[in-house]
Amino acid sequence: MQKLQTAIGTCLLIGVLVSSVFVIIGGVIYLAFHGHEITNYQVYASEPVAYKSVLAIWHDAFSFSGRSIIQFGILLLVLVQFLRVLLTIGVFARLRDTRFVLISLFIFAVLVFSFCVRV
């Protein structure tokens, strides 16, 4: 049990680091081109479509603009949590703990739901 938990922890750590790399790269690009701008955050405007859905973020990342790479990195970070829940389901399945497998599956479903449905 302890070993499994440690393994999960390492996976999550790698995930966080990978996503951070993307964010750093995107951040550097973003600052290089836009660092001198004075941004206006007073008025709230919704993000452009390219940053909204998972598919759109994936496509836009290839345009190599700083912001889209950052957005991709952020998405990865959130996906690390998906991974965590999946791994936890695996652990409980190994332990044959049906109750917690169901609990974790439910959590995973809510996670997927939050990304797919426009609430």
């Binding site: 966080v16 919704s46 912001r67 809510v110 996670l111």
Partner: protein, 201 residues
């Protein structure tokens, strides 16, 4: 994990609420709650908690356990599970609504309601905050709330800070953690109330 079920449901509701509820009112209420919590955290004594019998739900779901301290592993029992679930749902809703606070309310729920040792509360809370935040983030993404230019420095700073904090946790004394936690949420609470009263966030 069990607590997380309630929290994610709360998170979805909370994130949905962001489109509906006036933020300043929530900020004031939340700030007040946090002030109260800040005081409560200081008042609790660590010594009394370790020998209570476990809540029947805790036994059924196998929630009791052990945790590391400077003296070695200590065991703990869990209390008030249903109340904690309710608090978790509220924490999730607040997190979805305000983007913060899920951590503080959850730690408090585990510390005060379930009588978990302080280090267990903070580390468990960190674990489930990730999932609750991911749920809220999913909804924020689809609504276009996440701005990469704003997020990137915050994220990088948080990652570095988290590493440092986690390393320190092992050696920290529970009482020190309590004081630190109490001070931090006190400051956040004042800030929340101020901003709520000023009518902007």
């Amino acid at each position: 994990m069990l607590l997380e079920v309630a929290a994610v449901i709360g998170a979805v509701i909370g994130a949905w609420l962001t489109g509906v509820v006036p933020i300043s009112a929530i900020a004031i209420i939340f700030g007040s709650v946090m002030l109260f919590s800040s005081v409560m955290t200081l008042r609790r004594q660590e010594i009394a908690e370790l020998d209570l019998p476990p809540h029947p739900w805790a036994k059924a779901l196998n929630l009791n356990g052990t945790y590391p301290t400077a003296e070695g592993m200590k065991s703990y029992n869990v209390q008030h599970v249903p109340g904690a679930l309710g608090l978790m749902a509220i924490a999730g809703a607040l997190s979805g609504l305000l983007g913060i606070g899920s951590g503080t309310v959850k730690v408090l729920a585990m510390d005060q309601a379930m009588r978990l040792p302080y280090k267990v509360s903070t580390t468990t809370s960190n674990f489930i905050i990730g999932i609750t935040a991911a749920v809220s983030a999913g909804i924020y993404f689809t609504r276009g709330y996440i701005d990469p230019g704003l997020t990137f420095p915050v994220m990088l700073g948080v990652v570095v800070g988290s590493f440092v904090g986690a390393k320190i946790l092992n050696r920290a004394k529970s009482q020190t953690l309590r004081y630190l936690f109490s001070a931090v949420i006190f400051i956040v609470a004042i800030e929340m109330i101020y901003k709520g009263l000023m009518g902007h966030l």
